[in-house]
């Protein structure tokens, strides 16, 4: 009988044979040999020192284990790396590119995939791939409903959780309707990052899940649904809540960190993040009041995965694959899930791990503000990426150009 | 042939003649060009020195010791200059100011230093080599400026109102010092001034920029000759 690993490898072989016969990690030893001594330029958003520290630590591991150095290229915006690869393609630079590895998901992935800027498929033939929980965590192979097709490899799970200051707000609202009522009674204490910011749009999608009668249409492209009818309850909800928002909706924070800073400054009572462990980590770092707790809505919250992808012209392709594989290593995954480090949820299936590796996860502290895995509730799949674009554009039309 | 010869030197601007000099200055002689402001005195000076602006047109020749220096740049003409303001280089010491002028063929630190100190002695400023020029009095500065001009071993000297900033008492002494040095070294010199007393003190001819003799209340020897080519003998050829 074939083991799960062999079966997956066989499947991947059948699916991806033409492409990776030439370039994929079929002969892992050869990849390792080639990777030794390479320096992988990993383009990753550099806005969070904790993540930067984690990447540096992974770099030490890669060097010690495989002789691969990691150089993090800290980006203000992942699209900068996409733009770089595009510029290289325009300039006819088909090998020796500057970008070896990109931290990516969602729209950036869809854009690079559509423009043929990615190398692969490679992910599903990585040695650690069989440990990935593709069944329990479908977001590891479905990036905003876009099948990853092995062109990117997951390394962290994210789920939307709400953060609140329990000292000021003992009973936080747990649904879209409850949130609206609470905001009306407490004007000026709630806001969200301005769409098209990623987290801000996710918040809108979360509300949409809560107010639209049939959320299943969200998994299809927006053109396939009656957009106006589906989103009408969302706009009604927003029209009702906007006057009660922070600054009466005349200004919005730019992004997730700006929103978190407002909570830390006491400007708002309720915030949210795409990382169940963020609040605990921030409290541990002395950046947030220790009275902050997290919660999820009844019916669940949106979740997705973070990936790494390799551009078509990456100079250090072998090294990049080694790093992608290393990121799936149970020890690395457990480190990422440690609330004192990142608090990112693992992409691995704990059932697939050895006893010793499972113990690493069991030993993790939860953190003062983090919910235990079971309390996180059901994970709602990201709607099709076209919803995000359309909703963000409509939001801008309705609320984004107020005089 | 020695001396400074202005051979039909004519400068015009927009067709108007500003300078028209046909003049020979013998070694040790000081000729004065005098006139009111705007009369073309400075233009004459600039023409002889070779720093005329592009708006001027020059014809004629300037000969120094028989050599035509008209096509040469200022630095190669060997014509020294003393300005109305002494213009000592403010970032250099007194000694360095003098050493700047000293020809490079005098080699070696101590040899150069020796020449500089001797020059300072001559100027009555012994031991002043390391002084900051800004700490000198007006008279001292004027003497340093003269010595600097002389150390460059010029073959002629131009004086651009060099005494006008000095008070009356100092002026007489500095003027005498400068004229003594010129005569002692046998330099042909041209003094540009609007000051009658300075002009008379030179004991030489006084012309306006267009070459006309300036009438003088005191009949100074050798003055007021309209055509000056014959002022002194020079061998033909």
């Amino acid at each position: 009988m074939l083991t799960r690993r062999e079966m997956l490898t066989a499947t991947a072989l059948c699916l991806a044979l033409p492409a990776w016969a030439a370039s994929g990690p079929s002969d892992w030893d050869a990849v390792l040999a080639k990777a030794r001594g390479q320096t992988v330029y990993w383009h990753a958003w550099g806005g969070d020192p904790k993540i930067n520290d984690f990447i540096a630590w992974v770099g030490q591991q890669a060097e010690a284990r495989y002789g691969v150095r990691i150089e993090q290229v800290k980006l203000a915006n992942t699209a900068d790396a996409v733009a770089r690869v595009l510029a290289e393609k325009q300039a006819g630079k088909t090998d020796g590119g500057a970008v070896d590895l990109i931290w990516i998901n969602g729209e950036n992935f869809a854009a690079m995939k559509a423009a043929g800027l990615l190398f692969g498929p490679f992910a599903e033939s990585l040695p650690n791939w069989p440990l990935v929980d593709t069944v329990g965590k479908p977001a590891t192979v479905m990036d905003f409903t876009e099948p990853t097709g092995g062109l990117e490899s997951p390394w962290a799970m994210a789920q939307l959780v709400f953060e609140y200051d329990s000292a000021r707000l003992p009973e936080p609202p747990a649904s879209a309707a409850a949130l609206l009522d609470w905001a009306k009674g407490n004007p000026g204490r709630l806001t969200y990052p301005q769409p098209p910011d990623y987290l801000g749009t996710t918040f809108l999608k979360q509300v949409l899940y809560g107010v639209t009668p049939d959320p299943t249409v969200l998994l299809k492209p927006v053109d396939a649904a009656d957009y106006a009818a589906v989103t009408a309850p969302l706009w009604a909800w927003l029209d009702a809540i906007t006057p009660s928002l922070w600054r009466q909706g005349k200004a919005y924070p730019a992004n997730e960190p700006a929103l978190g800073q407002l909570l830390a400054d006491g400007e708002i009572d309720l915030s949210f993040a795409f990382n169940p462990g963020r609040a605990s980590a921030a409290i541990a770092a002395g950046e947030l009041q220790d009275t902050v707790r997290t919660m999820v809505w009844q019916g669940g919250t949106i979740g997705n995965a973070s990936f790494v992808a390799i551009p078509f012209n990456a100079a250090h392709r072998a090294g990049a694959m080694v790093v992608a594989n290393l990121l799936l290593d149970p020890e690395i995954q457990a480190q990422a899930q440690d609330p004192d480090v990142l608090g990112f949820q693992t992409v691995l299936s704990l059932d697939a791990l050895s006893e010793a590796d499972r113990a690493r996860f069991d030993a993790l502290k939860l953190g003062v503000a983090t919910l235990p895995p079971l309390a996180l509730g059901p994970v709602l799949l990201e709607p099709h990426a076209s919803w995000m674009t359309r909703i963000a554009a409509d939001w801008t039309k309705r609320y984004g150009v107020a005089p | 042939m020695t001396g400074l010869l202005l051979d039909h030197l004519r400068v015009t601007k927009d067709g108007t003649a500003l300078v028209n000099l046909d003049l020979a200055v013998a070694p040790g002689e000081v000729v004065t060009i005098m006139g009111p402001s705007g009369s073309g005195k400075s233009t004459a000076l600039a023409a002889i020195l070779g720093v005329l602006g592009p708006e001027f047109r020059l014809s004629g020749r300037i000969l120094l010791d028989g050599e035509d220096v008209t096509p040469l740049p200022t630095r190669a003409r060997r014509i020294g200059l003393l300005f109305q303001d002494d213009i000592l280089f403010p970032h250099l010491s007194v000694g360095s100011n003098l050493a700047f002028a000293l020809p490079s063929r005098i080699r070696g630190r101590s040899a150069r230093r020796q020449v500089v100190e001797t020059a300072l002695d001559q100027a009555g400023l012994p031991g002043y080599a390391d002084r900051d020029p800004a700490t000198l009095s007006g008279g001292q500065r004027a003497r340093v400026a003269l010595m600097r001009a002389l150390l460059a071993e010029p073959h002629a000297l131009l004086l651009d109102e060099p005494f006008s900033r000095l008070d009356a008492d100092l002026r007489t002494r500095i003027r005498a010092f400068v004229l003594d040095q010129i005569r002692a070294r046998g330099l042909p010199a041209i003094l540009v001034t609007h000051d009658r007393e300075d002009a008379l003190a030179t004991g030489g001819r006084i012309l306006d920029p267009l070459g006309r003799a300036v009438a003088s209340p005191v009949s100074a020897p050798g003055s007021a000759r309209p055509s000056t080519r014959q002022a002194f003998d020079f061998p033909s050829g």
Binding site: K74, R84, A251, D265, E267, G286, E287, T389 | -
Partner: protein
Amino acid sequence: MAGPVIAGLAGNVLPLIGTDAIGRLLAWPGLGGAVRLSVVTGVVSTLCAVAISLAIVAALQGGRRFGLLMHALSPLLALPHAAAALGLAFLIAPSGWIVRLLSPWATGWATPPDLLILNDPGGIALTLGLVVKEVPFLLLMLLAALPQADATRRMMLTQSLGYGRVSGWLLAVLPAVWPQLRLPVYAVLGYAMTSVDMGVILGPSLPPPLSVQVAAWMMHPDLSWRGPAAAAALLQLGLVLVVLGIARLAERPLARVGRHWAESGLRRQGLDRIATPLATATALAVVVLVAGGMLGMVLWSVAGLWPFPDALPAPLTLATWTRAAPSLTATATATLAIAILSTGAALALCLGCLEAETRFGLAPGTAAMGLLYLPLIVPQTAFVPGLQVMVLAVGAADTVPAVAAAHLVFVLPYVFLSLAPPWRAWDRRIAVVAAALGASEARTFWHLRLPMLLRPVLTAAAVGMAVSVGQYLPTLLIGGGRITTLTSEAVALASGGNRRIIGAYAVLQMLLPAAGFLLALAVPTLAFRHRRGMRAA
């Protein structure tokens, strides 16, 4: 320097602009508001900055307070725009330092008030930020221009005729100074209308200023937005050119007003009584706002938890610094290397240009000067990506020299701007004296002109270093991420909004250029300590 701009524009912007791009730009509902914001904040902030700088110089120059003020202001020049904006934001926000200092004892606020101060739709916070950042720059340019205008004697003369300080300055000195000041003012206007980092931090977002929107579209994951972004960048360029044209045309009527005033003989001594305290107060306000913001950032870099309304962070910690330390040496070295290369090249070019001007009378015309300033006026997002494609095609990307060359495009105008006026003001008779002493042009240059102008040359170098250190987009795009500088790191970190780490990097970002300015002050003072004639004016 126009070459790279035009090539960048041609290489990037033009191919992207199809009818579709223009259509999508016009269909963007925020277009009207964004254009209005860019123009209004740009023009108003420039007018205010010019008025304040003129008032400060007219009312205070020559006094003891003026010297103190200039000492306080000059380090502010070194502050990168983003750091200044973040500091100011922390100062004036409803949960910011000023409110914290007054709460709760004076205001009664236990939680921050819900007041729209930052990111206000009118762009007042953005205008304020631009004003406080540009006043030190304009003051420096003004001071460099004053000696040529013979300001001291003109002031003595007008005051002996019974004119007030301010009116005398405006009537007799300003007309002589303005030709020197015109291009710096245009550079300020161009920057104010196209700034991205300040617009993001202080400006409104509903809609944002046009420049911010251009940058957002350029960075949009959906690559098709680059078309509208390119079209918007061209629109922005057009706006800047129109506003500059109007500014040029407005000079004539303004000069006529001045002439009428001068002919009327009105002494307006009373103006001094208003202007002097007002100028002192605004100057102080500029210093307090920028320095206060900076101090706030320094505190954040060592802060543990610092909740509202605490005036000071309770636990102080070096955690932020120790975390940043390992990568610091390499980053600082790269930053310095690029700054030295680009500034060195800019100095060499400017000195060569000015020396040619002195020797052969080859003064650049207005058109040439306009081209030199093109990189300051054309939005960076419009042509830097095109430059990137060009550099990649040549195969020179990702190297320190390539990044330094890209920086040179922006460093050169500023170096020329600060070097040319004192260079041209140098006493030409010194060159004549030297030539009469037999010195060659080269000897005059190396032994007289250069050492005598050491102070302005070093100041120009310090300005150039500060500009190089502050570059973000060219570093990122031309360096391909392989070359990181303090600013490319700082902006990446700033996108995370973490005030602690932003504070640490803002301090570092300022430290390098500040060291440059310090050297520019100290070296000539030390070298000429025994030369009274070489003291700073």
